[in-house]
C-alpha cells in the first residue's frame, strides 16, 4: 500500500465483504459508548470501539486471532446506545464466525469451545441433545472439574429428570430429526453457498 498510514486497509474491505453486517464498520465515529457500556468491558483484550479502529487500521491478525469478540454475551447494551445504530453485537458474532471459519479463532477460549460443542452436538442428529451437551460442557476443562460441576448441579439434574424435562435415554443415541440425510444435504448446500459468497483476500 501507499505511504498513507491512514489508508492501508484492505482488511476493512475484507470485513465488509465477508463478515456479517461488516459493512457497518465504517460508520463508527469512535465515540466510545459501546466500549463504556459493555458489562464485560474490563475482560476484553479489545473493546468493540477499538476493534473497529483496528479493522480500519488493517490489523488483520490481531483482530482475527483475538478472543475479544468471543466475550460478547449478546446483552445488546451497545446496540441500544450506539448513536449511529451500528449492529455491534451482530458484528462481533460475525467477526467470531469469520475467524473460526479461517481457523484463526483462539483454541482455548471457552465461548469458542462451547460454540463448537454446540454445533457438533446439533449437527449429529439435527436436534440438540441437552444431556450430552450439558455433560460435555461440564467436562470441557478436564475430568476433575467435570466431576465437581456435575456434583454441584446434581439437584437440578435430578429435578429435570423427575419433571421429565430430560431423559436418561438421551445418553444412548438420543432423539433426532426424521429426515437426517435431508438435513445433512441442507447443511452441506448452505455451507457451499456460504463458501461461494466468501471473497478471497490476501492475508
Amino acid at each position: 500500500m501507499s505511504g498513507n498510514k491512514y489508508k492501508s486497509t484492505s482488511f476493512l474491505k475484507e470485513v465488509e465483504a465477508n463478515v456479517e453486517q461488516g459493512d457497518w464498520v465504517k460508520m463508527c465515529m469512535q465515540c466510545g459508548v459501546c466500549a463504556g457500556s459493555c458489562p464485560l468491558g474490563n475482560h476484553w483484550e479489545h473493546t468493540p470501539q477499538k476493534i473497529f479502529m483496528m479493522i480500519r487500521a488493517g490489523k488483520r491478525d490481531e483482530v482475527l486471532t483475538s478472543d475479544a469478540m468471543w466475550m460478547c454475551t449478546s446483552c445488546y447494551n451497545c446496540i441500544v446506545r450506539c448513536p449511529r445504530e451500528l449492529p455491534i453485537t451482530h458484528i462481533m458474532h460475525g467477526l467470531a464466525t469469520y475467524s473460526k471459519r479461517l481457523g484463526l479463532a483462539p483454541a482455548n477460549n471457552p465461548t469458542q469451545k462451547f460454540a463448537e460443542l454446540f454445533w457438533k452436538n446439533l449437527t449429529k442428529k439435527g436436534r440438540v441433545n441437552e444431556l450430552k451437551l450439558g455433560i460435555a460442557l461440564y467436562f470441557m476443562n478436564g475430568i476433575g472439574e467435570g466431576i465437581k460441576t456435575s456434583l454441584k448441579m446434581k439437584d437440578i439434574g435430578l429435578g429435570m429428570l423427575k419433571t421429565k424435562r430430560m431423559s436418561v435415554a438421551e445418553m444412548f443415541g438420543g432423539h433426532g430429526v426424521k429426515d437426517k440425510s435431508g438435513f445433512d444435504a441442507m447443511l452441506k448446500k448452505a455451507f457451499e453457498i456460504e463458501e461461494a459468497k466468501l471473497k478471497k483476500f490476501d492475508s
Binding site: 473493546t47 477499538k50 448513536p83
Partner: protein
C-alpha cells in the same frame, strides 16, 4: 378586548425571541406595519435566560435592551404577549390568522411596583428558571422583562391570594375576570420565529437526569450564574448546596444520536466552552473542569475561543462520549463511566456536578398550517411555504449571530411580499 388593526399589507411575526424581535424591528423600521405575537408574558426568548453570550462574554441584557428600546420607539410595531397562533388560512399576500390570547390578569395600568407580589403567599414553579425556583403567584417574569409588567399565575386564580393581590394594587391594574380571547387578523406575510427548546434530558436514560440531583442541563447551568436566579448567582449543586468546583460537561447529550436528535445542535460545544469560563470566574485556580466530547465543533471563527479555553490548565478535554452515569451515594457525586478514545483507557470519574450539553430541537412540533420542514422538523426555505418564512432557530440550530442574520433575511422576504400587495392594490 384587544383591538388590532391589520391588513394584508401587515407582516405578522410569530415568536418574540431575539430572532422574532429582530425580524419585527427590521420590517417595522422600513415603515411596514408589524404585529408580533409572543407566547410568553415577555419577549426576548431563551436569550433572556442566558448569563453571558459567547464569543464576547457580554451580558445578553445589553442586546435585548437595545431591541426593547427600538420596539418602544416604533409606532409601526405592535407586540401581543401571552398569545399563540391557533390557525392560519390563505396564501401569500392574503392570510387570515386566528390568535389565542391567554389572560394575564394584569392590565396596562401596572407600574411594576410589586405590591401585589408582596401581598401573596402562594408560589409556583418558575419557568424562567427552568423550574429550579419558584415565583410568587403575582410576579414580574424577570428583572428586565418587556413589557415591564406583572402577571398572575393562572393557578392562583380563584384563591384568597388572588383577591389579596387585587386589593393590594393601588393603580387598579389587576383584573381577575380577564378571560381568554380569540381574535382574527389579516397578514400579507408571516415570519415564523418560534425558536427552539432544549431536548428532554430525561430521555437519555443512561445519564440519569431524572434520577440524580447533581446532573443538570446546560440551560439550567446558565440560570445558576444569574444573581437574581435560583442560587443568587452561586455555582452550587442542587443536592446539598456544595460549591461545584469540579464540573463535568457532557457534549452531544441528545444530539448526533439516532436514538435522539440526529442533527448536530452546533452551538453546544461553544456553550460548554463558554460555561467553563463561568467556573473559572467563580473559583479561579480551584476550578476543575472536564469536557467530555466526541469532537469539538467550535464553528468557524470561534476556533480562537476554543484555543483560549484549551490554554487554561484547569480545563481538561476528554475525548469520549460518556457511556453512563452512576452515583456515589455517600458524596452524592455523579460517576461518569466510559472509555477514553485517546488510548482506550477505561475511566470512572467523580465530579461535583455534571452538566448535560443538551441539543436544540424546534419548539413547535405541529404548525397550524402545513409547512415544509427538514427531517429534524426545522422549517425549510421552500416555495411551498408561500409567504411564511422561518427565522432563527425555527429553521436550524443556530447561535444568536446566525439567528439574527436569518431573521433579517426573513424580514426582507416579507417586506418584498407586502410591497407587491401594496403595488397591486395601488
Amino acid at each position: 378586548m384587544t383591538e388590532v388593526i391589520a391588513t394584508n399589507e401587515t407582516i405578522l411575526v410569530v415568536g418574540g425571541g431575539i430572532s422574532g424581535m429582530t425580524a419585527a424591528l427590521e420590517a417595522a423600521e422600513t415603515g411596514k406595519q408589524v404585529i408580533l405575537v409572543e407566547k410568553r408574558a415577555y419577549v426576548g426568548g431563551r436569550v433572556s435566560q442566558l448569563y453571558k453570550y459567547f464569543p464576547k462574554l457580554c451580558h445578553p441584557t445589553c442586546g435585548l435592551e437595545i431591541n426593547q428600546r427600538r420596539a418602544k420607539q416604533n409606532p409601526n410595531l405592535r407586540i401581543i404577549t401571552m398569545a399563540e397562533v391557533s390557525d392560519v388560512n390563505g396564501e401569500a399576500g392574503d392570510y387570515s390568522v386566528k390568535v389565542k390570547i391567554s389572560p394575564r390578569y394584569v392590565n396596562d395600568n401596572c407600574t411594576a411596583c410589586g405590591d401585589c407580589g408582596r401581598a401573596v403567599e402562594s408560589e409556583f414553579d418558575d419557568e424562567y428558571n427552568y423550574g429550579l425556583s419558584k415565583h410568587k403567584g403575582a410576579f414580574l417574569p424577570h428583572k428586565n422583562a418587556y413589557p415591564y409588567q406583572y402577571a398572575i399565575d393562572p393557578a392562583m386564580i380563584g384563591t384568597d391570594d388572588a383577591t389579596k393581590a387585587k386589593e393590594a394594587c393601588k393603580v387598579d391594574a389587576i383584573d381577575l375576570d380577564m378571560a381568554e380571547e380569540n381574535i382574527e387578523l389579516k397578514a400579507g406575510a408571516i415570519i415564523w420565529a418560534t425558536g427552539w427548546r432544549p431536548y428532554d434530558a430525561a430521555k437519555i436514560q443512561p445519564y440519569g437526569y431524572d434520577r440524580y440531583d447533581n446532573v443538570i442541563t446546560s440551560v439550567e447551568f446558565e440560570r445558576l450564574m444569574d444573581q437574581a436566579g435560583p442560587t443568587g448567582g452561586k455555582l452550587i449543586r442542587p443536592s446539598d448546596g456544595k460549591e461545584a468546583k469540579n464540573v463535568a460537561f457532557i457534549q452531544c447529550a441528545g444530539s448526533r444520536d439516532r436514538n435522539h436528535l440526529t442533527h448536530c445542535s452546533r452551538i453546544c460545544c461553544m456553550a460548554s466552552l463558554k460555561q467553563s469560563t463561568y467556573v473559572d470566574e467563580q473559583f479561579g485556580d480551584d476550578a476543575d473542569v472536564s469536557i467530555y466530547y466526541i469532537d469539538i465543533r467550535a464553528i468557524d471563527r470561534f476556533e480562537d475561543f476554543y484555543k483560549k479555553v484549551q490554554a487554561n490548565d484547569n480545563v481538561k478535554f476528554i475525548k469520549s462520549k460518556v457511556a453512563s452515569i452512576t452515583l456515589d451515594k455517600a458524596s452524592q457525586n455523579p460517576i461518569l463511566n466510559g472509555v477514553d478514545t485517546e488510548g482506550y483507557h477505561r475511566y470512572a470519574n467523580q465530579h461535583d456536578l455534571v452538566v448535560l450539553a443538551v441539543g436544540m430541537e424546534p419548539s413547535v412540533a405541529e404548525f397550524p398550517i402545513t409547512l415544509t420542514t427538514n427531517s429534524n422538523g426545522f422549517i425549510e426555505a421552500d416555495d411551498s411555504n408561500g409567504a411564511i418564512f422561518g427565522a432563527g432557530c425555527s429553521t436550524d440550530a443556530l447561535d444568536v449571530n446566525r439567528a439574527v442574520q436569518s431573521a433579517t433575511a426573513s424580514a426582507l422576504r416579507a417586506v418584498q411580499v407586502v410591497n407587491k400587495v401594496a403595488k397591486a392594490e395601488g
